[in-house]
Symmetry: none
Subunit: 534 residues, 2 copies
Amino acid sequence: MSQDQKERLYLFDTTLRDGAQTSGIDFSVAEKVVIAELLERLGVDYVEGGYPGANPTDTEFFSEKRTQSATFTAFGMTKRAGRSASNDPGLQGLLSAEADAICFVAKSWDYHVKVALGCSNEENLESITDSVTAAVNAGREAMVDCEHFFDGFKANPGYALACAKVAYDAGARWVVLCDTNGGTLPDEIKAIVAEVREVVPGDHLGIHTHDDTGQAVANALAAVDAGVRQIQGTLNGIGERCGNANLVTLIPTLMLKPQYTERFELGLSEAQLKDISAVSRTFDEMLNVSPNRHAPYVGETAFATKAGIHASAILKDPQTYEHVAPEEVGNKRRVLVSDQAGKSNLLGELARLGVEADKSDPRLDGLLAEVKQREAEGYAYEAADASFELLARRALGDVPSFYEVQSFRVMVERRHNALGELVSVSEAVVKVDIDGETRMSVAEGNGPVNALDVALRKDLGKYQSAIDGLELIDYKVRILNGGTGAVTRVLIESRDTRTHKRWFTIGVSSNIVDASFQALNDSITYALLKAEAA
Amino acid sequence: MSQDQKERLYLFDTTLRDGAQTSGIDFSVAEKVVIAELLERLGVDYVEGGYPGANPTDTEFFSEKRTQSATFTAFGMTKRAGRSASNDPGLQGLLSAEADAICFVAKSWDYHVKVALGCSNEENLESITDSVTAAVNAGREAMVDCEHFFDGFKANPGYALACAKVAYDAGARWVVLCDTNGGTLPDEIKAIVAEVREVVPGDHLGIHTHDDTGQAVANALAAVDAGVRQIQGTLNGIGERCGNANLVTLIPTLMLKPQYTERFELGLSEAQLKDISAVSRTFDEMLNVSPNRHAPYVGETAFATKAGIHASAILKDPQTYEHVAPEEVGNKRRVLVSDQAGKSNLLGELARLGVEADKSDPRLDGLLAEVKQREAEGYAYEAADASFELLARRALGDVPSFYEVQSFRVMVERRHNALGELVSVSEAVVKVDIDGETRMSVAEGNGPVNALDVALRKDLGKYQSAIDGLELIDYKVRILNGGTGAVTRVLIESRDTRTHKRWFTIGVSSNIVDASFQALNDSITYALLKAEAA
């Protein structure tokens, strides 16, 4: 087949909706905004942002359109039986959300229609038809998630098919077959998709799988093999119970394995595929979880070999030992310490950040060595662009020494006050040199890091106006290696309230206050550097 | 089919051999002995113990038979080309190992025969034949792992098939088709297995898969569907790169899904299946890794649902929402405690934690209100069972006041020392009342939380021996709502080094030190409560 004849596969990301059902995950609006940006960087076709009207976070998130190129999608229920679409506040709330598309969840198992909805099978079909029609009439792309589709099909194939068919007939761009409880096996998926294609064309069918038998990815691929053309999944496979289909695993298989590349094309570029390891790790950093070292394609050990019978052969002849080349997914082969790819990766990162560097500049070797040394200590620059840019510019000699912190002291005291109430007081003292002049500042805060932050920014003399808009908006801490010999990594997200620009800085130390200080200091220095350049 | 007519599927565990290739894993002989016992408890048919002769650990491990019922299997290379079986020290070493079976690894890709072995295709076939013959003559069950079989088949099907055939013809009980680099997809596995069955019967074929495309489990099942009757895998899927097929995931699918139960039987009893969650977690404890909460079937959240549209329906009618019953794999249903939790959820959680409560007890309403209030403040009890249990037991009046912290003070100072070096010192002072007696402790730490932890546990008088084994193994910090009015949530994972029990506690405050103090305090109190009950 020529390039033109390839069929398009669409990626539908539900990290912000079904992924938000993950135990222990609770996204704020600000986090959703950052994750939506990450999803666009990855290159998915649809970003499902949540369920406007269901909770204040999702309602606020849908108060404006949050994507540039991906189709911004709101999730919600079909209209209730017994009232018209125009008289259903839930549906009207969905229609008023600032979304490009609406994905309705609909029951397709007659048993659940009866027990959970308490309406008739006919009424449920009407709800699907009327909801899709209302969305289409409101100028939205409409789609329908058929909940428990495979179990419903096994119980009553005629009714499950009727649900899919009325959705399609009403104008749904996609009818998505959901293996809601994750228990269906690949061969069942294939057989049932084949039957659904009798009533809905494959290029209007989607698949939504869960990992309850460890086969979310295999089930999604089985559905593609059987004819569906939209795949739902999440970043790093987060999701309820055992998680959803992992888009980070699916995308490389779809873009690198001949079985798929010969027939299909996705909306991602090769450059975006090369960025997928970084996207995956950045998301883990946002969630404050350790990346899965064994993750397919993107894990730290996905292309690692223990020294042994294979190691030297791999170095001589990697393509006969590796199923894909690690570079294609932005990962690295790990057999020896020395890494030939290091310098070109570094140049790519500098170009991405707009740091000019000549590839023959000998200072780049020093920078590369320093990055490796620091990453061995626990720094993770993938999630801290601003700290990485400072490190690079310092190595290349173009960061002025704006100020120098001579010393600081932070104290937290918890005790009974004069009224007999237990209170905590946090206080920080900072001594800073600017142009040879020493300034001391003291501040209280609602915790030691806040006190240190306030004291540090209280009096930077001539630089004060440049950091007026600086605001610390997120602060994450992770303990590396566990136990008492642990190292603490702090990641700080800052914002300039005037320009709305955000940046991330990092600090690593066995002492959480020291690590926080490094990240705070980098954040201020970065702000001053950008103010100077502006 | 009647019970008698079912075909037997055999489970071959390679945790101690291929699993030992996992980055970061290095088993001692003593660990191998304990893991072999765990594998017999699980009920696998074969335990592959390692490669005697390749290293002192494996040689010692094979100095005696280490299994009772499972077939104890040694792994090793086929004899070298150019020397006879009786004159090959590696093969003779294998034959002298105290093993029931020998699994030879053989090249089946002609390219690797040439490049890695440096012998002719014919010589390699002779090595397979002679090695299998030697093992059979020595009274061992013989099998052959055909390395890179699927890639080899794609490159030269005739030669790959010849390798499989000579192994079978020489008397190998099993010819195992290995997807060594993990890149093969399920449909390829099926198609190639079908071709192999033309030369080797399915009940003499095994499958060995890796998770490099996230489909190790799907590939193993595809091979079973295509006719193989032995499955190789590891406990919890450990293994090189992305890991091997996870037996803990495969076993429940094979024993609970009608597609498999109607046709096959395994060597495990239903009681052993009920024990599989415990086996999986025990293995993680041996490896000192946190169990994967999202693992299919056995993960802590594998049957968990966040309160929402599904929660009340699941409690009423679980079998239409769960693909298998959690009890069958020794796991539990969890409807997560959350701000939408109702009283029945709460009672379910209390029962799960072993907290006795009468559903008419009016104190439950107070507890429910308190949980909701605290979750609104930022507590997330779904990730902190120990803090939740303390909260519940306090509401029900059965947590003694072991000790009371009157006050504490924590200080971090960063300054130049006498040598002009920048150093940080963290110090904590804690004042504790026990039975009316006040004790003051002071400690330094590698950060304020560590100093506070050490000071808090330094002198708890009569309780000291009960917390001797207490260890803080993970510490997570999350900032809720961002910005300067932010609330900090601290989650601490603790362990008793004597019992290997782990528990999670939580603290929430605008002050990170206060939040940490709450979680530390809960951890110690929980340890004392459990010590008292023991």
